[in-house]
């Protein structure tokens, strides 16, 4: 019936850009196993995963933003601001309401809402006021960082002791020995992958990033989809903060520092195109794991100084982008 079925079909060759992140991850794990027997221990693995969950959750949202041709530099500061605000309000409520579960629930709701609202502000200014995403989020990055410093009065905002004890399990407990941040990260990653690959929203993101004009001519609501990517990212920042606050119970001017760059790096290492048009959430997850494993490996071995962590991560990022360029659009 169709020409496609009668025409000789070439076997799809293994695309280097598709498998490169997985290969890199496997190589890292093998190196880790060779260098330190404790590397694959339950404690170490859960530790790495739980620590990478915050960046990971944010990077899932970043995947959508970048796929749709956007960028958000403000997420690290946004996380710090949301965390600071959450702690401040929870402390105030503890004084007036006397603490307990309702305070935690209000705090969580506040964090989610503030993240969503912050993402909405970014998105609305980028889509309606037509401000370049890079510039706008550079601006909001400074604003949120400054706001959290101001809220903390230059110091550290700490959750009250009683509340901290009550809230602690959200980071440290879990089910079947897997802590909540890992579970949430995994669930969100699976959901994100499904949304990216199997829903109209994901398809529209890729179409807009690939060629905005084609998307518009195809009656895709370009501005609304763009806006939604930033709202989604903001909400995920809120979720990451909900997981992060019980870990240390505090927020300061240095909370979430450089998270935006780590998230963007993870997205790019995972094979999503920086210029947009193609993105994959599972790649981002692999990217996050690669970045945290490098740090973990350097800590576990005395082979290379852990101070060189940044340098090695930098090399990996550059390699990832070079691979992308050599193999063209990955799929």
């Amino acid at each position: 019936m169709s020409m496609a079925t009668t025409a000789p079909t070439r076997r799809p060759r293994v695309n280097l850009a598709v498998i490169a992140p997985i290969v890199a991850l496997i190589v890292l794990i093998l190196i880790g196993m060779a260098l330190n027997p404790n590397f694959l221990s339950y404690a170490n693995i859960t530790n790495v995963l739980a620590r990478s969950a915050f960046i990971g959750i944010i990077a899932i949202g970043m995947t959508f933003v970048i796929t749709a041709g956007g960028l958000d530099l403000s997420v690290g500061s946004m996380a710090a601001f949301v965390a600071g605000l959450m702690i401040l309000v929870m402390n105030m409520l503890t004084e007036s309401m006397g603490g307990g579960l309702p305070v935690i629930l209000i705090g969580i709701a506040l964090a989610l809402f503030t993240g969503l609202a912050a993402g909405f502000v970014n998105g609305i200014l980028i889509t309606r006021a037509g401000i370049e995403a890079f510039i706008l989020t550079l601006g909001t990055m400074g604003i949120y960082r400054s706001l959290v410093t101001w809220l903390a009065d230059g110091g550290t905002l700490s959750l009250g002791y009683e509340m901290r004890e009550l809230y602690r399990p959200v980071y440290y407990d879990g089910i079947l020995g897997i802590s909540w941040p890992i579970i949430v990260f995994a669930v969100l990653a699976i959901l994100g992958e499904i949304v990216m690959r199997h829903t109209a929203f994901g398809r529209h993101c890729a179409a807009i990033g690939s060629n905005e004009k084609v998307a518009r001519y195809s009656s895709v609501a370009v501005l609304r989809v763009r806006l939604m990517t930033y709202v989604l990212l903001g909400t995920l920042v809120g979720i990451a903060v909900v997981m992060y606050v019980p870990r240390l119970g505090s927020a300061s001017a240095t909370t979430g520092l450089l998270w935006e760059l780590e998230a963007i790096a993870a997205v790019i290492i995972g094979g999503t195109l920086l210029k947009g048009g193609f993105g994959r959430v599972w790649g981002t997850v692999v990217g996050v794991l690669i970045l945290s494993l490098i740090g973990n490996l350097l800590n576990l071995t005395d082979f290379v100084s852990p101070y060189l962590n940044g340098a090695i991560q930098g090399v990996v990022i550059i390699l990832a982008v070079v691979l992308q360029r050599n193999t063209g659009a990955a799929r």
Binding site: A4, S210, N211, S219, V220, A329
Partner: protein, 501 residues
């Protein structure tokens, strides 16, 4: 007569399997203005680009001062003094006028740029062109006619021996055109060979010494301008026989389906109205840039506009393409690669992009998508070597068929097709013509926008013609002839008399 300075002998040019220039002989003589005219797609641009070293001929010979020549590129041609002024401006928008004029050939004093000298010389050149632009102004702040003048100044500043001008007056006012003509006459007197193209036949008659007509990549005639009238030129440009390339036109009903009233898009379309009936194929003719595309995009909700569009009695809002599509009106863009298809995506992703909500919610049903692609491949005879290939690797004809399939996926009542067959081979053209006739026979209403006169005449039973943003005339049935359309499109007839007439 003097010997030609630059000549083509039996030049052919193919892009892929399609030959678009068939053995063109063409010669430019010093001190002569030679006009090259023809319809869009006749091969003028290709001929000019071969002369200016931008393209290599596939066959035949380029001769420079009597010797065979093979340019390594446009730089070598420019070094010899062959300067081409492009229709699309070749200016760095953020640089100032003088920086543009001397781009790549900056004057220096020692290691440093000699801004003063460049500015003075630019001012001098612009003075000759009676253009009152300050050389220090960035190019993105000056008007379109001024940009054209800057391009001309740039060409003048090089010691041109051959000057190739691709429709230089398209964006100029009458007064500016006069200034340009004075410069052309001055250059001619200095012995420069000038190649000039224009759709304005009155200008050709006035300024050119010799006129050559191209049609479908073949040179049809070349005469001294004094020996041919404007009507002769138009006849030579279009005079081709209509074969049975086109299916018979189906009869259409009298029931109006689409009514557009007083459509205005600021700066490009002025107060255009048209009515489309059930089962009708309506043509829109006119030159590129006459506002045809903008009118269609305004009707389809892709541009801000004033005026009303009514589809089967329902008012369609401006600038809201999704509503128009849902109501049953779709627009197939002329810009296949820029606005029609995602070149890095697969056939399936392109086909369903505008209609994803019909393929399942919240999750897209991949099987239904594949089934839709199966029927599109069968219905539109799309030939794709691989199902999963990127659309950018398909041939132009197959891309166009896929774009048609994508546009028609919503089962629209009204289809506006802009340049249905641009850049595709004759076989695919015929398939697309048959498809258009079939759509009309099914009771759908079609608007075909085309620069190819035979296409309009072969497909449409009624043609409206646009000139300079206005609808200047409507032709029906027997009056739909190439001569009539060309005369209207050139502004020779109609409500708006052009001074060239």
């Amino acid at each position: 007569m003097t010997d030609p300075i630059l000549a083509l002998t039996g030049v052919t040019k193919s892009f892929g399997p399609i030959e678009i220039l068939h053995g063109v002989d063409f010669a430019l003589h010093p001190g002569e203005v030679h006009a090259l005219i023809g319809e869009n797609g006749a091969g003028k641009s290709t001929t000019m680009k071969i002369l200016a070293g931008y393209l290599d001929p596939t066959g035949g010979q380029v001769t420079w001062q009597g010797k065979p020549m093979s340019f390594s590129g446009s730089e070598q041609a420019e070094d010899l003094g062959i300067i081409m002024i492009h229709q699309e401006f070749n200016l760095a928008e953020h640089l100032s006028v003088d920086q543009n004029v001397f781009l790549g050939r900056e004057l220096r004093r020692g290691f440093l740029l000699d801004h003063k000298a460049m500015r003075a010389q630019t001012a001098d050149l612009l003075g000759q062109l009676q253009c009152r632009v300050d050389p220090a102004t960035p190019v993105n702040r000056i008007s379109v006619p001024d940009k054209q003048m800057v391009e001309i100044a740039k060409a003048l500043s090089r010691k041109a021996r051959v000057l190739i001008m691709d429709e230089p007056t398209a964006v100029l006012t009458e007064r500016e055109t006069e200034v340009l003509f004075a410069q052309i006459e001055r250059l001619r007197a200095e012995g420069v060979a000038i190649l000039y193209t224009s759709h304005k036949l009155g200008e050709v008659k006035r300024i050119a010494d010799r006129v050559t007509v191209l049609r479908d990549g073949t040179m049809v005639r070349s005469d001294l301008t004094a020996d041919v009238s404007e009507d002769d030129m138009a006849a030579a440009m279009v005079g081709r026989e209509l074969s049975d390339l086109f299916p018979p036109k189906p009869a259409h009903g009298a029931e109006p389906i689409l009514e557009a009233q007083g459509i205005t898009v600021p700066g490009v379309v002025h107060d255009a109205s048209l009515t489309l009936h059930r089962g009708e194929v309506l043509g829109i003719g006119g030159l590129v840039g006459s506002g045809r595309t903008e009118l269609a995009e305004a009707i389809a909700g892709l541009r801000p506009r004033s005026g009303t569009v009514r589809l089967k009695g329902q008012d369609l809002p401006a600038n809201h393409v999704a509503t128009a599509m849902r109501a049953g009106l779709v627009y197939l863009t002329e810009d296949r690669k820029g606005a029609g298809l995602l070149l890095d995506k697969t056939l399936r992703e392109n086909l369903t992009l505008g209609q994803l909500d019909r393929f399942g919610s919240p999750l897209i049903d991949r099987k239904r998508e594949e089934a839709a692609l199966d029927s599109a491949i069968a219905d539109f005879a799309i030939r794709a070597p691989e199902r999963g290939m990127a659309v950018g690797d398909l041939s132009g004809g197959n891309q166009q068929k896929l774009l048609l399939a994508k546009t028609l996926l919503s089962d629209p009542q009204v289809v506006i097709i802009d340049e249905p067959t641009r850049g595709i081979d004759i076989g695919t053209k015929q398939q697309i013509y048959a498809l258009i006739a079939r759509l009309a026979a099914e009771g759908r209403s079609i608007i075909v926008i085309s620069s190819e006169m035979p296409e309009l005449i072969g497909l449409a039973s009624r043609v409206v013609v646009m000139h300079a943003g206005r609808i200047v005339g409507e032709l029906a049935d027997a009056a739909v002839t190439e001569g009539n359309i060309v005369r209207l499109a050139m502004g020779l007839d109609g409500h708006e008399k052009d001074s060239a007439a």
